[in-house]
């Protein structure tokens, strides 16, 4: 029963992530990670790095929050990491103690990425709310 439920949840997350990746093909990784640095859900073009990403997400958020706090700008909303080869987006869901991390390769429209992120967040929040109820 529990396995069927978790499989269903996984497939729901998979569908959400799949849709986002199809609408923005540059997206390589989408991860939902808990506050404790554990993987909640993950989709990637390359497997096997979800544990690392999930462990680093709260560290990055904590470092960002500290940095923001130092200059009196707390609370932190979201983090964007921009590089020559891609973009990474990190935000904490409002509905649950879960981080959403999206990594996109190449030139990516940041505005679109944020819109996609908020869409994923809304859908993921609903799923998590159902799961945690």
């Amino acid at each position: 029963m529990m396995t069927t439920e978790s499989m269903k949840i996984e497939s729901v997350f998979d569908r959400i992530f799949d849709r986002a990746m199809r609408s923005q093909p540059q997206i390589q990784d989408i991860l939902l990670g808990s506050d404790q640095g554990l993987v909640v859900a993950f989709k990637s073009t390359v497997k096997g790095k979800e544990a690392r990403l999930a462990a680093l997400a709260p560290v990055l958020a904590d470092a960002g929050e500290t940095l923001f706090g130092e200059v009196g700008l707390s609370p932190l909303g979201e983090i964007l990491l921009l590089g020559n080869d891609g973009t990474m987006y990190l935000a904490r869901l409002k509905s649950a103690p879960v981080f959403l991390l999206i990594a996109a390769k190449g030139q990516v429209n940041v505005g679109l990425l944020r819109m996609l992120a908020s869409e994923i967040e809304a859908e993921a929040s609903d799923v998590l709310r159902t799961l945690l109820r």
């Binding site: 506050d35 404790q36 640095g37 544990a51 462990a55 904590d62 470092a63």
Partner: protein, 126 residues
């Protein structure tokens, strides 16, 4: 044949040493066998555990040092041939046990470094 009290004390000591040793091996192995990136992240998230572990280790060493110094002093200052003071011996025994308990607590904290944090620290960056 030793009396039951002595046997119980010896078993207690052996169990204490065993627990501390197992925790030490477990701590080393769990930290050593972890993915380096995940470990770095966990060490950051579990920094309170690191502080607790170091504090417990320091306390264990302080108590052990005091126990050894008191033991040496009581041996050197005792008149030749006179029996050992039972009160001092009891205090030394308690100190010895306490130092190993702190050591075990220290290893337990180091082991917990490799585990996901139970709760996130509200005071960011502190």
């Amino acid at each position: 044949m030793a009396d039951p009290g002595q046997i119980a004390t010896s078993i207690g000591f052996a169990a204490l040493f065993l627990v501390a040793t197992v925790l030490a091996i477990l701590a080393y192995w769990s930290v050593r066998s972890m993915d380096q990136v995940v470990l770095r992240a966990r060490m950051y998230m579990n920094r309170q555990r690191l502080f607790s572990g170091l504090l417990a280790g320091a306390l264990a060493m302080i108590i052990l040092t005091i126990v050894i110094l008191v033991s040496l002093a009581s041996t050197l200052l005792r008149p030749t041939g006179s029996p050992a003071d039972t009160t001092v011996q009891s205090v030394l025994l308690i100190g010895f046990v306490a130092s190993f308990l702190f050591l075990a607590w220290s290893f337990l904290n180091f082991y917990a470094l490799s585990r996901p944090p139970r709760e996130t620290t509200p005071e960011s960056g502190q």
